[in-house]
Amino acid sequence: MHLDDRLFSDKKLYLPLLAAVLVLPWLPMGTAGPYVIRIATLTLLYMVLAQGLNVVPGFTGLLDLGYVGFFGIGAYTAGLLTVHYQWSLWLVLPLAVLNGALWGVLRGAPTLRLSDDYFAIVTFGFSELIILVLKNELWLTRGPMGVPGIARPDLFGRVLDQPWQTYYLILFFLLLVLWVVVRIRSSRLGRAWFAIREDEIAAECVGVNVARYKIIAFALSAAIGALAGAFYARWFRFIHPDMFKFWESILILCLIVFGGMGSITGALIGALVLIPLTEILRIVLPAEFSSARYLIFGLLIVVMMRWRPAGLLPVERE
C-alpha cells in the first residue's frame, strides 16, 4: 500500500507525526526559538503549496510552470483587501481562494486541448503576465515598491502575534488541504484524474468527461495556491512582485519532483527536506555565495530526472 493511503488512516503513522509537529514550538531552543519556528512555518507553507501544485502535474500529468501565479493572486487579493479595508483574515481568505480558483478556471479553459510542452509554455507565460501586471499597475499594487504593513492574521477578533500562533494556523491549513487531497485521491474524481494522466484518449473513450475533470483540477490547484498566498501575505506582512517570480514555480516543482510526482507524502517530504535546506544554506554559505544557492536546486532537478525520475516515493501504478 502506498504511504498516501495510510497517511490519514493508519493511526500508528499519523499520530506520532502529528504529536511531533504539535510540540515543536515548545521544544527548548534558546534564542534560536523564533528563528526555528519561522523556518518551520515556512516549511509548512511550502507543504501547502506543494500539495496544490501536485494536483495538476501529479494527478493529471500536465506540467504547470506558472503555479506561482495563483500564489501571487492569493497574496495580493488578501494583502490589498487587508491594507485598504482592515478586514479579518477569515473574510479575506475565502475571497482570495475564490479569486484564485476563478483564475485557475479562466487560465485552464482555453488550454484544455493543449498537451505537454504547449500547456507548460502557456502556464509559464500566464505567470509572467501576472508579474508584469503586479509590477506595472501602480495604482493597485504599488508595483515594484511592494505592499508594506499588512496586518497580522487574527482569530476571534484577537491578533495572532506570537510565532507559535501563526505556526499552528498554517498547520491547520495544511491539515485541511491534506484532508481534501487525500479524500479526493481515492474518490471517483481522483480515479478520473489518474485515468487522464495515464492516457487521456483512452479515458475519454471510456466515458470520462476529460474537460470537466481537468477544470476541477485547475480550480482546486489554484485555490490551494491562493490559500497559501493569503496566509503568506498576512504572515510575512509585505508582498512584492518578485516574490512570485518564475523561479518560485520551479522551487515548488522541485519539491514534488524530489518526493515523487503524484505522491502526497512525497510532496510533504520534498518540502521538509528542501525548505530548511535553503534557509540553512543562506546562513552557512558566505554572503557572496548565498544568492547563488539555488544552483543546487537546478542540479538536484537534473540529477533526480536522470536517476530517480519517479522521486523518492514513487507512486505505484494502479
Partner: protein, 308 residues
C-alpha cells in the same frame, strides 16, 4: 506643423532601426530553439543561458577577468567556440540519457539546467552589471555610421544586422545543401526511419546543438556590446522572447524563427515607444500565448499530429 511631422517621422525611422536590430538578435537566438526542437522535440530552456555565457565569456576574455586580456577578435572567436561546445555538452550530459524517457522529464531537466547555469554565472561573475571596457573594443563600433537629420544608425547596429543576415544565409546553406543538413532534416521528419537508414542520430543532434549554441553565443556577444551590459539574468529574458519568436514563426521552422524574431523585435520597440514602455516585455508573452491557443503551428509551422 511641418516640424511636428518631421519629428514624428524621424522618431518612426529611429524606432524602425532599433526594432530591426533587436529583431535580428532575437532571430539569432530563436533559430537555436527551433533547430533543437526540430530534431528532438525538446524546448531547450537552457538555450538562453548559452547566450548569456557567450556575453560573459567574451567580456571576461577581453577585459582580462580570467587574468589575461586577449585581442577582441580572438576573444570573440573563443567565446563562440566555447558556447558551441557547451551546447554539445549540455545535450550529452543532461538530455541524451533521457531520449527514451517521457518528454516531461526532458523538459524539467532543461529547466533545471537553466537554473543551474544562471546561478553558476552569478557565482562566478556576481550580480553586478558588467560593461565591456571601452579601450578593448574596436572604437568604430560605438561611432555613428549614418546620420539623417535626427536618425542615427551606429556601426554596431549595422554589424549586428549584417552578422545576422550572413549567419542566416550560411545556416540555410548548411541545412539545405550539405550532407549533415540533409541528415538533420531527415531526423526532424522521422527519427527512427532516419536511424534505420544509417544516419548517426547522436552525431547529428550534437551538430545541431553546436550550431544553435554557437549562434546563441554570437547573439550574446552582440547584445553585450549593444547595451554595454552583461549580467546573469540576461539570458532568461532574451531566452523567453526568442522562444516566443520561434513559436510565432512556427517552432521547428528556421525561416519561421527568423521572421518571428523580426516581427517580435519591431513589435516590442514600437509597442514600447508608442503604447506603453512598461508593458513592452508583455508583448512577447501575449504573442506566445495567443499563437499557441489560436494557431499552434505558427506562421510556418509543420507540426505533425503527435507534436501538437
Amino acid at each position: 506643423m511641418l516640424n511636428a511631422l518631421l519629428e514624428q517621422s524621424s522618431l518612426f525611422l529611429q524606432q524602425l532601426v532599433n526594432g530591426v536590430t533587436l529583431g535580428s538578435i532575437y532571430a539569432l537566438i530563436a533559430v537555436g530553439y527551433t533547430m533543437v526542437y526540430g530534431v528532438i522535440q525538446l524546448i531547450n530552456f537552457a538555450h538562453g543561458e548559452i547566450y548569456m555565457l557567450g556575453a560573459f565569456l567574451s567580456f571576461s576574455l577581453v577585459s582580462g577577468f580570467f587574468g589575461i586580456g586577449l585581442p577582441f577578435a580572438l576573444a570573440v572567436t573563443i567565446a563562440v567556440l566555447v558556447c558551441a561546445l557547451a551546447g554539445v555538452l549540455l545535450d550529452v550530459v543532461a538530455y541524451r540519457p533521457l531520449r527514451k524517457a517521457p518528454r516531461l522529464a526532458a523538459l524539467i531537466t532543461a529547466i533545471g539546467m537553466s537554473i543551474f547555469l544562471q546561478n553558476l554565472a552569478l557565482l562566478i561573475w556576481g550580480a553586478q552589471i558588467k560593461s565591456f571596457p571601452r579601450e578593448a573594443v574596436p572604437a568604430f563600433l560605438f561611432a555613428p555610421a549614418l546620420q539623417f537629420g535626427d536618425v542615427v544608425i551606429s556601426w554596431l547596429q549595422i554589424v549586428i544586422l549584417s552578422v545576422a543576415v550572413i549567419l542566416m544565409v550560411f545556416l540555410q546553406l548548411i541545412v539545405h545543401y550539405t550532407k549533415i543538413g540533409r541528415a538533420m532534416r531527415a531526423i526532424a521528419q522521422d527519427q527512427t526511419a532516419a536511424a534505420l537508414m544509417g544516419v548517426n542520430v547522436n552525431r547529428v543532434v550534437s551538430f545541431t546543438f553546436a550550431l544553435g549554441s554557437g549562434l546563441g553565443g554570437v547573439a550574446g556577444i552582440l547584445v553585450g556590446l549593444y547595451y554595454n551590459a552583461v549580467y546573469p539574468t540576461m539570458g532568461y529574458f532574451a531566452g523567453i522572447k526568442a522562444f516566443a519568436a520561434a513559436v510565432l514563426g512556427g517552432i521547428g521552422s528556421i525561416p519561421g524563427a527568423i521572421l518571428g524574431g523580426g516581427i517580435l523585435g519591431l513589435a516590442e520597440v514600437f509597442g514600447g515607444g508608442y503604447i506603453s514602455s512598461s508593458y513592452s516585455d508583455g508583448i512577447a508573452y501575449a504573442v506566445m500565448i495567443l499563437v499557441i491557443l489560436v494557431k499552434p503551428t505558427g506562421l510556418f509551422g509543420r507540426l505533425s499530429r503527435d507534436k501538437a
